[in-house]
């Protein structure tokens, strides 16, 4: 079928939607059911389109019954060509899977045609089967019987096993029919209007068909929705009359609805639900029959909105705040049904839908992007009993803020190596973005909603069920600031994860700094006084002289430390001192490795997540000793890296063992400093202007 138009969606919305904005997951599942049925205007239960192949080419067999008396009488059997006009009264609802009769009393044979013999032996019997299904019988003998259930009883007197009248019908059928043609079987029922519970017009008799008689429609729906009342209920059902949770209207409600792909509602496990009375579940979770049917129709569309990575499945189901309209419905359907998460498993649906709508050609659709919301739900893959994080109305506002922050951080500080930036690094999640700003923002958006943003820096976890990173993702999505102490704790654990023979790759603390700064820029970082964003040096400082390696190093260090988090104030000065300790350790280690060919430089022996203040004091002492000894080996200076040593000694107001800074804070600052120190010489070389005049001088210093 071709893509449905706005009118198709408007029609479906008018017909099935309760008219209020979406406020709950149940609303959303129902709404997605509405989107699913908009494709086909024949309604939620009936499927007349399935008969389109029969129209004009097939035959309609009508068995006429007189139900004005009890028992009913078989009067006649007629055969006509099936016309379009017949479809409404047939009320056809196909059963497309499994065995048994079609859901409607009207039964269809094969599209390719049936011989009379086959119709006699199979399809007539289906009418009999249908009358005796438990679900169909529910309109006669259940707590929620239909007032006109007697119709079923009277039909049952004819459609019973080995019934004499049934044989008569079969004989008439084979007499009248010839050849193999597509065939539809239905029943015409003559009824005394005064026998019906509700009818309009005068008294008298009238002929009804499965599609025009309410009790037949109700029976069809019972049969079709039986699974909504008997799932996991051993030969029992759960349904009743109650106020629907979604609709707010009193209606027949079903007790075992399908809750989409999330399976958040189930009565399957009484062991974990104390006091659960399975067959009374309709009381606790009343979902109208229609809502239940819509919710089960929604499943495949909802499945498009999933993103699976690092052990979790993240659903980001788009909807629009405010009134539901045909255009909104169509826009969502278009955006969602093309997602295909299996094909595009590296592109989170949340980002793709957002871009789809923000960049639509139609201005009316672009205008909707302000109202775009996502129902965001994270659960472990293959565990349907747990939800890690859930937020019903995530907007893209905070994702955009963070994406902007990340782009600015990468462009303005990370890449600005002359100003202390640690430098981009390919294949590290937060250390590389494309040069084109729009494209970079888009990639940043992907990284944030695709969990890479937190996965890059937080402690690794195997247990998806309890993955704190997903809780933080949700917190950021909702625009709730993260406390620095939480981040620093995670950072230090991650440094422990990453520690190997050669220490920690410099990229890890670099990514962690990028994250601190990004959140700082987005206004989502608490508890790090002043924040992690460097001051805008390019505006206030001259470019360093690029001919003197010491000056380059000094300038870079000065710029790197020119962040509020290293300013005055007790924690800040201690953090600054810890960071400078790291810088010295890093630079000495680089020297040991590259100038002295030492196998185990100093920093490989310092493991950030195990570092104590006492170890730090001792390590810094060793580094200072080394700086003096190595300088004595060379020429000119009395200490190696004076720019660091001077600042370090200045920063040490107190012996580290007297510091009050939190342990995680100290550990991260040392690790970050070490990463910076490790990079200090290579980056100074890179920046160094190697004009012929200065080459010799610089080369001598480089090896000093």
């Amino acid at each position: 079928m071709s893509n449905p138009g706005v009118e198709d969606f408007q029609q479906a919305v008018d017909k099935y939607w309760h008219g209020q904005p979406v406020t709950s997951l149940e609303d959303l599942m129902t709404f997605y059911g509405v989107l699913a049925v908009a494709e086909d205007d024949s309604g939620l239960f009936r499927t007349p389109a399935e008969l389109s192949a029969y129209v004009d080419d097939g035959r309609l067999v009508t068995i006429h019954m007189d139900l004005t008396s009890d028992p009913a009488e078989y009067t006649d059997l007629t055969v006509d060509t099936l016309r379009d006009d017949d479809l409404a009264r047939l009320g056809y609802a196909a059963k497309t899977s499994g065995r048994g009769a079609d859901y409607s009393f009207t039964q269809a044979g094969s599209k390719t045609g049936n011989k009379p013999e086959k119709l006699k032996n199979t399809h007539i019997n289906r009418l009999r089967l249908w009358c005796n299904y438990d679900a169909v019988r529910g309109v006669v003998d259940s707590d929620e019987a239909h007032p006109d259930g007697w119709v079923l009883n009277r039909l049952g007197t004819i459609f019973k096993k080995d019934g004499k009248v049934l044989e008569e019908i079969k004989d008439d059928l084979t007499d009248l029919l010839q050849g193999s043609e597509p065939t539809v079987l239905t029943v015409g029922m003559t009824i005394d209007l005064s026998d019906l519970s509700e009818h309009s017009g005068e008294n008298g008799v009238e002929t009804f068909y499965p599609g025009t008689l309410d009790v037949m429609d109700a029976a069809m729906r019972r049969y079709l929705t039986a699974n909504l009342t008997d799932a996991n209920l051993d030969r029992r059902t759960s349904s009743g009359e109650a106020t629907g949770y979604v609709t707010g209207e009193e209606d027949r409600v079903v007790g075992t609805p399908k809750t989409g792909p999330f399976e958040i509602f189930s009565i399957k496990h009484p062991d974990v639900q104390p006091g659960l009375r399975q067959d009374q579940s309709w009381r606790n979770y009343p979902v109208s029959e229609q809502t239940g049917q819509l919710m089960s129709q929604a499943k495949s569309l909802l499945e498009e909105c999933v993103f699976r990575t690092s052990g979790v499945e993240t659903y980001a189901i788009p909807y629009f705040a405010g009134e539901v309209t045909g255009l909104k419905a169509q826009t969502l359907w278009n955006a969602v049904q093309s997602l295909d998460p299996e094909e595009n498993n590296d592109r989170p649906p949340m980002a793709r839908v957002t871009f789809d709508i923000e960049e639509a050609d139609n201005p009316a659709i672009r205008a909707l992007s302000d109202e775009l919301r996502f129902y965001y739900l994270v659960s472990p893959i293959s565990d349907d009993t747990h939800i890690v994080a859930e937020t019903p109305s995530a907007s893209t506002y905070w994702v955009n803020e963070i994406a902007d922050g990340l782009v600015s951080t990468v462009y303005e500080s990370l890449s600005a190596t002359a100003y202390g930036g640690l430098g981009v690094s390919t294949n590290w999640d937060l250390l590389e973005l494309p040069d084109d700003r729009d494209q970079a923002r888009r990639i940043a958006f992907y990284k944030i909603v695709g969990h890479e943003f937190t996965n890059a820096t937080f402690r690794r976890r195997d247990d998806a069920e309890d993955d704190f990173r997903r809780v933080v993702d949700q917190q950021l999505l909702e625009g709730r600031p993260v406390d620095a102490s939480v981040l620093l704790g995670e950072f230090v654990d991650r440094l422990g994860d990453e520690h190997g023979e050669d220490g920690v790759p410099w990229q890890v603390p670099a990514m962690q700094l990028v994250q601190l700064e990004t959140l700082s820029r987005a206004g989502l970082l608490d508890g790090l006084s002043g924040g992690a964003t460097p001051r805008d040096q390019s505006m206030t400082q001259d470019l360093p002289e690029l001919t003197d390696l010491t000056k380059i190093r000094e300038h870079r260090l000065e710029s790197f430390l020119d962040r509020p988090m290293f300013d005055s104030g007790k924690d800040n000065t201690e953090r600054r001192a810890a960071c400078l300790s790291g810088v010295l350790i890093g630079q000495i280690s680089w020297h040991q490795e590259h100038e002295r060919n030492m196998g185990q430089p100093l920093d490989t022996r310092v493991q950030a997540d195990k570092l104590t203040l006492d170890t730090l004091r001792k390590t810094v002492q060793t580094a200072l000793d080394n700086a003096r000894v190595y300088a004595a080996d060379g020429e000119g200076h009395n200490v190696l890296y004076p720019e660091v040593v001077d600042r370090l000694l200045e920063a040490y107001e107190e012996n580290p063992t007297e510091w009050s800074i939190s342990r995680d804070d100290m550990r991260f600052a040392v690790a970050l400093g070490t990463a910076f120190g490790r990079r200090a010489m290579p980056q100074a070389f890179d920046l160094h202007e190697s004009d012929s005049e200065s080459t010799d001088e610089d080369a001598s210093e480089a090896t000093a």
């Binding site: 106020t243 958040i264 509602f265 062991d271 606790n284 979770y285 939800i387």
Partner: protein, 267 residues
């Protein structure tokens, strides 16, 4: 003191104002059985159950007391409504799996009881942290109201009140035994501290203030050996205690009133 009369708009002449608080809270969301997730806002029907526990009403007996036209409740969050996922261990309750059947004899009745030797299962409950709610409550049921007031004044209760699960014992504090709500009306938006029944479309956005919605049970009735919900309310509220929902009283179907230092909606 007489039992409060509730006018046809739903506003009581006077009401009890109390505060309920606990270290933890868990109000299982409708439609969630496989997962243990909680509402942020204590549902109105849970408040009814909590108060009935204080008075000592038997199970399923108090729905009429808290019926549509004869009761008025306003619920105002006084703490930040945040949750954590808390693993708890529990004994299975499936009668066909986790129970044993050794007590009793063939002649007497067999007693089924839980096999507490079986391994515990871990379930993760989403749990509210330090929830505090102020309740403004009026019911026309005289005996209930009198008893409730007596219990609150004396600091007593018949059954131990809790916030959701029995593990989360509640602290109950009477703030005022006869608050007098002053109606707040008009088309001008006002900031409402309490949970506001209705939809977000009535709400005037405020910069930096996040509004969330929840749909929870509001009114129940006993029927056919059980109970069923006859009304669900969509609630709009802000998860932080010092902010409120900005909305014009005339846009709501329920009465807005100031009670003490709070602006609330009775429903």
């Amino acid at each position: 003191m007489t039992t409060p009369n509730i006018d046809d708009k739903g506003l009581p002449e006077h009401c009890l104002s109390l505060r309920v608080a606990s270290d933890w809270g868990h109000f299982r969301r409708v439609g969630r059985t496989a997962t243990k997730q909680t509402y942020r806002m204590i549902p109105r029907t849970t408040v009814a159950g909590l108060l009935a526990a204080i008075v000592g009403e038997p199970r399923d007996s108090y729905y009429e007391t808290f019926g549509e036209d004869v009761s008025a409740i306003a619920i105002t969050p006084e703490s930040e409504l945040r949750t954590i996922n808390m693993p708890m261990t529990s004994v299975g309750t499936d009668p066909s799996e986790a129970t044993t059947q050794t007590a009793g004899s063939r002649r007497s009745q067999l007693v089924r009881y839980q096999d507490t030797r079986a391994p515990r299962q871990i379930h993760v409950y989403e749990t509210l942290v330090d929830p505090v709610y102020r309740l403004d409550v009026a019911v026309e049921d005289e005996e209930f109201y009198t008893q409730l007031r007596r219990h609150l004044k004396n600091g007593t209760s018949h059954y131990p009140p809790s916030l959701g699960l029995s593990e989360h014992l509640a602290r109950v504090e009477l703030l005022n035994s006869s608050s007098e709500p002053t109606p707040v009306t008009g088309d001008e938006p006002v900031i409402i501290d309490a949970a506001v029944p209705g939809t977000l479309k009535n709400v005037v956005p405020q910069a930096g203030v996040e509004c969330v919605t929840e749909r929870s049970a509001a009114v129940m009735e006993g029927i056919g050996g059980g109970r069923r919900t006859t009304r669900f309310d969509d609630l709009v509220f802000t998860p932080t205690p010092d902010t409120g929902v900005k909305v014009a009283p005339s846009a709501l179907d329920w009465p807005v009133a100031s009670v003490g230092d709070k602006t609330v909606v009775f429903r």
